[in-house]
């Protein structure tokens, strides 16, 4: 079930009405939301629901045992076991075949060619998101940041449909306290919820879909058949597409949760106006970057110790961050590129001679954006060969036919321009909207959806981050 569809719209309308109708009992409301979340998730494959429930029980049980244990050594053993179990689920579904393939290649290179068994495992939608959520929960219970919660709350935390398949990675400390009492809706929350849903719908159904089908997909499908202009435009196009696609999902998830009375954290903050890669990671997929910081980078040693030690931590974090997206060398290269540039920024910050000027802000933004776009070429390419062909084509391609159109150029410019609007513009609109009478707001929302629907691309492609 995809957000920008009428099927989901009807599902949500029914759930909204029932969830608020039963608000007298918070427990029943949570049970209802849980069942609705399983229906939402089961629309992909009912078998995945069993995995989700199993994962929730695993984390609930581990956290309970940690909370009851008094000995630090026992608590540590339990948290390690919990993390390993979560990683085993992720590893099996996401990486098993990849590592078996790589092992086969290594054996073949050593002269021991073997037919290793590939399981052709179907990747459960959103498995990376809910396993990371499970890991952060057991670690936070171990650290004493959150108390061990009941089974219903943990299962709902991991299954709650707005964030289930593509984030934001909502931590237990953010959501569990909200589950303890029936949520209250305010006009501001509702106005922001409606605005974020509309804005997300526009970014996904119009900008991302048009760029994907009209430019990015055909060019990346066969880079050698396209000229330099198409290749450059498609690289920028993908930078805009992935932002508009992924941030649209986050906006809609935050908006949908808000209409049900729950607050989800920020996940994007105009990432292409970042002046450095470090700044970029404070603005892009904030819930993942803060997760990697708190549960990987800092436990590795973080910024403590010498410069080279910090660079090592950055490289490990970004390489694993790349691998989190999928079992492909292109993701590792993407993560490696980010790790390398973050390390270089760190080295320069530590070694920069006193009195040297800092980079002008516009130049910093331009350089950072192009490093990020270079990374996206690897991220989007089907294989390493395809990425190299793509980059080679930018340097020497002479194919004359054009795939890029005036509309796709306009959408790319629009997608970049929205990064330079005043910060918190949408919250400013929300402040005004909450004072408007409800029928007028409803009319405005209806007109906006009608306009978006009239110009959206036919059909709905899945969100990019569903595959992760």
């Amino acid at each position: 079930m995809l957000f920008p569809t009428l099927t989901f719209g009807l599902f949500f309308l029914a759930l909204y009405a029932i969830a608020w109708a039963v608000r007298a009992s918070n427990e029943w409301r949570k049970i209802l939301l849980l069942l609705a979340s399983w229906i939402f998730y089961g629309a992909w494959d009912w078998r995945f629901v069993a995995l989700l429930i199993g994962s929730a029980i695993l984390n609930w049980g581990t956290a309970r045992l940690i909370a009851r244990a008094n000995e630090p050594a026992v608590r540590k053993t339990l948290v390690v076991a919990g993390v390993v179990a979560n990683l085993a689920i992720l590893g099996f579904f996401k990486y098993f075949d990849f590592f078996v393939e790589q092992a086969g290649l290594v054996l073949a290179a050593a002269g021991w060619e073997r037919d290793l068994p590939l399981l052709q495992i179907i990747l459960p939608v959103g498995v990376s998101f809910f396993t990371f959520q499970g890991i952060s929960y057991v670690v936070d219970v171990h650290r004493g940041k959150v108390p061990a919660a009941g089974l219903l709350d943990i299962t709902l935390l991991m299954s709650f449909f707005p964030h289930l398949v593509a984030g934001p990675i909502v931590r237990a400390s953010d959501l569990l306290p909200q589950f303890e009492r029936t949520p209250q809706l305010t006009r501001g929350m509702a106005a922001m919820g409606l605005l974020l849903i509309l804005w997300g719908l526009f970014k996904k159904a119009v900008v991302a879909s048009e760029l994907s089908v009209g430019l990015v997909d055909p060019v990346f499908f066969d880079p050698s058949a396209h000229g330099r202009l198409d290749l450059i435009a498609a690289a920028y196009g993908y930078a805009v597409q992935i932002y508009c696609d992924f941030s649209a999902y986050s906006d809609m998830a935050i908006g949908i949760a808000a209409l049900l009375g729950y607050r989800f954290p920020h996940n994007f903050n105009q990432p292409y106006r970042a002046v450095s890669l470090q700044d970029f990671w404070r603005r892009w997929h904030i819930s993942l970057s803060s997760w990697l910081r708190d549960y990987l980078y800092i436990p590795l040693g973080g910024s403590r110790g010498g410069t080279l030690y910090v660079c090592r931590n950055l490289m490990i974090t970004m390489l694993l961050g790349g691998l989190w997206h999928g079992a492909k060398w292109t993701f590792l290269i993407w993560g490696g590129l980010h790790g390398l540039v973050l390390s270089l920024e760190r080295l320069w910050r530590d070694a920069k001679p006193e009195g040297w000027p800092t980079l002008p802000r516009p130049l910093g933004i331009l350089i950072t954006f192009h490093i990020v776009t270079l990374g996206w070429i690897f991220f989007r390419a089907d294989s390493l060969d395809s990425a190299l062909t793509y980059l080679g084509g930018i340097g020497r391609s002479d194919v004359a036919a054009l795939t890029v159109t005036p509309l796709t150029i306009a959408l790319i410019l629009f997608g970049l321009a929205i990064h330079f609007t005043p910060q918190h513009l949408i919250q400013g609109i929300g402040l005004q909207a909450r004072r408007v009478p409800a029928p007028l707001i409803g009319l405005g929302v209806g007109v906006a959806i009608l306009l978006i629907d009239a110009i959206r691309f036919e059909g709905v492609a899945p969100f990019i981050y569903y595959q992760f």
């Binding site: 909204y16 608020w20 953010d174 209250q184 809706l185 305010t186 006009r187 501001g188 929350m189 509702a190 106005a191 922001m192 919820g193 974020l196 994907s212 089908v213 009209g214 997909d217 055909p218 990346f220 935050i254 908006g255 808000a258 607050r263 954290p265 920020h266 989007r380 054009l402 890029v404 159109t405 005036p406 509309l407 910060q423 918190h424 949408i426 919250q427 400013g428 929300g430 402040l431 909450r434 409800a438 029928p439 707001i441 409803g442 009319l443 929302v445 209806g446 007109v447 959806i449 009608l450 306009l451 629907d453 009239a454 110009i455 691309f457 036919e458 059909g459 709905v460 492609a461 595959q467």
Partner: protein, 121 residues
């Protein structure tokens, strides 16, 4: 800088983008939201009958889907006869004209439907 702008500067420090500064109470908020949602749904029911019909046509075939499709087709005809489908059609037509523009003035090839294009990532 106005007070509203100053308050918005603090928005990064809130848990969620839906937390607005100077939030009023919760009284009447559910009613306000429900009315807004209901009005927008009714507006779309009348002005966006084409999309409802397209959705019904995509449902798995069966007797219930057949009955629904007949009903939605009738609804499109009814709303169309009083001009309610015209605004959507005009905007759609304009967008398609923009979509068909090419730099090299070559005949515009129809864009493939998402399902038929190379896999999107």
């Amino acid at each position: 800088m106005t007070e509203g702008q100053q308050q918005l500067m603090q928005a990064d420090e809130t848990l969620s983008p839906v937390d607005l500064p100077g939030e009023e109470g919760t009284e009447g908020a559910l009613r306000w939201t429900s009315v807004a949602v209901a009005v927008s749904a009714i507006f779309l029911l009348f002005f966006n009958a084409v999309t409802i019909d397209d959705w019904a046509k995509d449902l798995p075939p069966g007797p219930a889907a057949e009955r629904l499709t007949a009903a939605t087709a009738g609804w499109v005809a009814l709303t169309g006869s009083v001009g309610l489908t015209a605004p959507r059609a005009v905007v759609h037509e304009q967008w398609k004209t923009g979509q068909a523009l090419r730099f090299d003035a070559a005949p515009a090839a129809a864009s493939p439907a998402p399902g038929t294009s190379p896999p999107s990532r």
